[in-house]
Symmetry: C2
Subunit: 171 residues, 2 copies
């Protein structure tokens, strides 16, 4: 199975917890992501408390799947002492993508919910999880055994590919 091409956003979940070794595998994959100057500017809040999960849709408009998901991971930027402070969001995005792929490779469903740079949503997480100012809520990933099946979606579009130079007549 080619997880790069198979991964889809899964928003319906079974009422079944995710085993701890799978959670750790997803986090290990996240921290294996590349980062600018290998600065690894991230921290991860594993959320499996039902009250916390149910509180998120109160400030995040696209997170209602959390009522069903057994857990989620909040990926945060740890912005202390960065060598390349401009790049931490990209580094964190690579870590998020690795979580999604790790989950898919182990039979889990997942979906990426954007957080940064939406200040009201970021503030919601800061308050809910009592985060310090040095952690910037970046993205929330819901995780669980899927209750929906999706085939691969081929989004390959040759019109988006140029060779050595941009040309207006590529399409």
């Amino acid at each position: 199975m080619d997880i790069l091409l198979q991964r889809r956003s899964i928003r319906r979940y079974q009422n079944r917890p995710v085993e701890e070794p799978l959670v750790e595998y997803c986090l290990r994959a996240a921290m294996a992501a590349p980062s600018a100057h290998n600065q690894q500017p991230w921290a991860f809040i594993v959320i499996d408390n039902r009250e916390l999960l149910d509180a998120v849709p109160g400030f995040h408009p696209y997170s209602r799947m959390l009522y069903e998901a057994p857990m989620a991971i909040l990926v945060c930027g740890d912005t202390r002492d960065l060598k390349s402070p401009d790049f931490w969001p990209q580094d964190c995005a690579a870590a998020v993508e690795n979580i999604l792929l790790a989950a898919c490779s182990r039979g889990l469903g997942s979906v990426w919910m954007g957080v940064y740079p939406k200040e009201p949503i970021m503030q919601g997480f800061r308050r809910l999880l009592e985060l310090p100012d040095t952690l910037v809520p970046f993205a929330l990933v819901a995780l669980g055994y899927g209750a929906e099946e999706k085939g691969p979606s081929d989004r390959y579009d040759p019109a988006r590919v140029y060779r050595n130079v941009w040309r207006a007549d590529n399409r």
Copy 2:
């Protein structure tokens, strides 16, 4: 082989071109990345012209491996008519990570060079490749058969993982 944990930055390359089906596979993986509202805000410039590759280190300080690499892919944000304009850099970062993983899974080496939001580097690419204003140079990925071997680097750090709430005494 677990590509998520095996992938490393490869900066030395053999003098050997990358076969076209492998290039297309990397681009297919890139476009399979998730994006906010599935907006797919990206375009890809495949660079295999030697003069163009050799010109990049003139304006990008961390790109000298291009003198050796047979090719590179410039991932650009296509910022026209976006539903979620705040999220295009994250979407593009996920696409970049998928290119790196696709390359690794096919025996290629790669390295991610940051571009956005460094304006002088972005301007260098705009001029070199005659890009329109709607394409924002985001990241450059060098690709090729590696001339160095690296084992996996286990960056897993349990001190960066919190459970339901942040605690100052996590370490």
